[in-house]
């Protein structure tokens, strides 16, 4: 013993556990959004820390675009089975089949925007009143201004000008029927914190986060995987490269980075030394306009 000093990870962990317990105590039907990505993997560990030995007081939900990496879907199902928790899958394909959304066409088509409708429909159908997400404030400028408890109206919309003041660690989760809150326990974590925590907790992550040989092509300065979900444009040539992913999204809009980091500590070292942000390097969905994330968030995106 001796000192009572805590590391920044211990403090961030304690804060996140506190947030999750507040939601479980104050809202009637929460859900945890689990994509199989690194941030939501951390959320699952924090939920274990918050509620074990009891089962989680909420189900997990994945908004499945149908364009996910197969490795990630396999990982998702394995992790859910290990935890013995319940997974709800909300399918973008079903939203398309039911005519709720219309598939984009062309070589740059993406299901990224369509997810918002699927997510909001699922929240309404299951009457969820709180949804945990793994978003972090260091990711993007619109997120830097979002509350930990982020209020959404009947239409799922975020109004950045009408956010509730959030003081100390006292969260106001009071809502009317039909409204919901998005809750971000990792708000104060950085990408490096997440990887350090994964290393500290020895958490398994999908294999695509580590360097592997993959057939890719170059578009707009980024490397994308060859997959049935993308069409090559004239001049784009497939080639094989040692790559890994910094984020997990759709195969159609998530870029890979050149890397030889095959072990967790290599990845942590790479992140610590990186000169480009996570979303700037790998997410085409943020590149559409300068305020792409702000616009999608206002409409109800994650």
């Amino acid at each position: 013993m001796g000192t009572h000093d805590l590391t920044h990870l211990e403090v961030l962990e304690a804060e996140a556990i506190h947030i999750m317990r507040e939601v479980a105590a104050e809202l009637s039907k929460p859900v945890l959004l689990f994509s199989g990505g690194k941030d939501s993997i951390v959320l699952l560990r924090l939920a274990e820390k918050a509620f074990r030995p009891a089962p989680f007081p909420f189900p997990l939900m994945h908004v499945d675009t149908g364009h996910n990496f197969p490795e990630v879907i396999a990982f998702r199902d394995r992790r859910v089975a290990e935890l013995g928790e319940r997974l709800v899958v909300a399918s973008v394909q079903e939203s398309i089949d039911r005519g709720r959304v219309v598939e984009e066409t062309g070589p740059r088509a993406s299901r990224n925007r369509l997810q918002t409708t699927t997510l909001l429909d699922a929240i309404e159908e299951h009457e969820f009143d709180a949804a945990f997400g793994g978003a972090r404030r260091d990711e993007e400028r619109a997120r830097a201004k979002e509350r930990i408890f982020s209020f959404r109206d009947d239409f799922g919309q975020w109004d950045p000008r009408r956010q509730r003041p959030e003081l100390w660690s006292i969260y106001n989760g009071r809502i009317r029927k039909g409204e919901h809150v998005r809750v971000f326990p990792l708000s104060n974590w950085t990408e490096l914190d997440v990887w350090q925590y994964i290393a500290k907790e020895r958490l398994e992550v999908p294999t695509i986060y580590f360097a592997h040989e993959r057939e890719v092509f170059r578009r707009d300065g980024m490397l994308y995987a060859i997959s049935p979900h993308v069409q090559l444009i004239d001049g784009e040539e497939p080639f094989t490269e040692s790559v890994r992913y910094r984020t997990v999204g759709d195969m159609s809009c998530t870029g890979a980075v050149r890397s030889t980091a095959t072990a967790l500590h290599d990845v942590v070292a790479e992140i610590a030394a990186t000169k480009i942000t996570e979303r700037g390097e790998t997410r085409a969905d943020d590149r559409v306009t300068e305020a792409a994330m702000e616009d999608r968030k206002v409409a109800g995106y994650f």
Partner: protein, 431 residues
């Protein structure tokens, strides 16, 4: 725990790969004119927390690097050239990780600054060296003190515009010290700097050899904050009861607000007043020998008591107040004013209680910082003292002793909005 599976070492980016660093929360206060955005930009830039693609975004129309652009978050703000709200920035050095709450200095400043200051370990208050200590400086320092921020840095900026003159700096130090004596601020540091030129932000200024103290970043890295926690009086608000029927488990989950708890400790449960003993401190990683603030843990108790969310577990000797009346300084955050006889909810620790405003004791004049008695109302951005009657007994401490059990938010039950923030003061002695 240090150096587990993390094998990464230092790197050219100045960011740490080591696990062993602590966390400091900062709040900045100052108007755009004081160079606050430039200071934050300089801090992040020189600490190498801005990455290449973000840097690309920081060049203005003339192509020059404009560090103040970093703090513009939303398109709505960029279009109108204003800052709407509190924005959070993150940077880290080998010694410490920092969370910086950046609050704008425009009309809603009080509400925003109070929000940003509520969790801060240290406040950076900016002064323009040409103007010295002005009304706004005093207001910012007052809010920092009111919110119980233990450390304040008075950043005397734009020293380049006064020829790096030591006498200008000394005069500001004297002026501010005289004012700060009226406030309850434990630790004030004065740093002369030029955020624009980079003097004394990260790198030591060559132009101000007369300044013997540390540059800002080094000061932030070395201020002792672990001792700011209250380790004396155990306060554990019960947040959630964990029950597992399969294993017949029942534990009380929450966050240590203050004090230290160990298995075998005798404790008291309020408001019921039952005594019991801590049997174990459970975590997913196994039982702990002791737990300190702000850890989230689960306590198992020796006796089978009726305990639920909102109860407070504390030490048997140093009890909090348990009353149906409390006095507090409130910062009002809503357009509709607070008035005597008004009914609200307060969320305090882990419970929500109905309250009625019994009396509006005073209001702080934002210009003179004097308290004027018996105002008719508290309007948006007003700070004043109120006496509240609560629908049931509440266990609390003065905010100055305990930030967690001495603070509350006020909620308007009709709109569900957060309309105020309260800091409990010791009750006035009764005749």
């Amino acid at each position: 725990m240090p150096g587990t599976s993390n094998g990464a070492s230092g790197n050219g980016n100045g960011r740490p790969a080591l696990l062993r660093s602590d966390l400091m929360r900062l709040a900045t206060a100052g108007s755009v004119d004081d160079g606050k955005s430039t200071l934050i930009g300089r801090l992040l830039h020189d600490a190498k927390a801005i990455l290449a693609d973000q840097l690309d975004d920081l060049h203005g129309r003339d192509g020059a690097l404009d560090l103040s652009r970093l703090t513009d978050g939303l398109r709505a703000e960029r279009e109108q050239g204003i800052t709407i709200d509190v924005a959070y920035r993150y940077f880290a050095t080998a010694k410490r990780s920092f969370i910086l709450a950046d609050t704008p200095g425009h009309v809603q400043y009080t509400r925003n600054m109070v929000t940003g200051a509520s969790t801060a370990d240290l406040a950076i208050v900016l002064v323009d060296a040409r103007n010295g200590v002005v009304e706004q400086t005093k207001r910012h320092a007052f809010i920092a003190a009111l919110l119980g921020i233990p450390h304040v840095v008075l950043a005397v900026n734009k020293m380049d515009l006064v020829d790096y003159d030591e006498q200008v700096f000394d005069r500001i130090v004297t002026d501010f010290s005289a004012f700060a004596r009226r406030l309850d601020v434990r630790d004030v540091a004065f740093i002369p700097m030029s955020a624009l030129e980079g003097d004394n932000v990260v790198d030591r200024s060559e132009a101000m050899g007369w300044y013997a103290g540390l540059p800002l970043l080094e000061h932030l890295e070395t201020v002792q904050i672990a001792a700011d926690r209250n380790l004396d009086e155990l306060r554990f608000p019960v947040q959630y009861v964990i029950r597992d029927h399969a294993t017949d488990y029942r534990g009380y989950a929450g966050r240590i607000a203050s004090g230290v708890v160990r298995p075998g400790d005798e404790v008291l449960v309020l408001p019921g007043g039952q005594s019991t003993t801590v049997e174990a401190i459970d975590t997913l990683d196994g039982p702990l020998d002791e737990a300190v603030p702000p850890l989230s843990v689960t306590l198992r108790l020796a006796d089978d008591l009726d305990i639920s969310r909102g109860d407070l577990i504390c030490g048997p000797a140093d009890r909090p107040s348990l009353e149906r009346e409390l006095t507090a300084d409130v910062c009002w955050m809503a357009d509709a004013p607070l008035r005597p006889r008004g009914r609200y909810l307060i969320k305090h620790a882990a419970h929500t209680v109905a309250v009625m405003v019994d009396e509006l004791v005073d209001r702080v004049d934002v210009h003179t910082l004097d308290r004027e008695g018996a105002p008719p109302e508290l309007a948006l951005n007003d700070i004043g003292r109120v006496r509240l009657r609560t629908a049931r007994p509440v266990a609390f401490d003065p905010y100055a002793r305990n930030r967690a059990t001495g603070s509350f938010i006020v909620i308007d039950e009709a709109t569900n909005e957060t309309v105020g923030a309260g800091m409990i003061v010791p009750a006035p002695a009764r005749a």
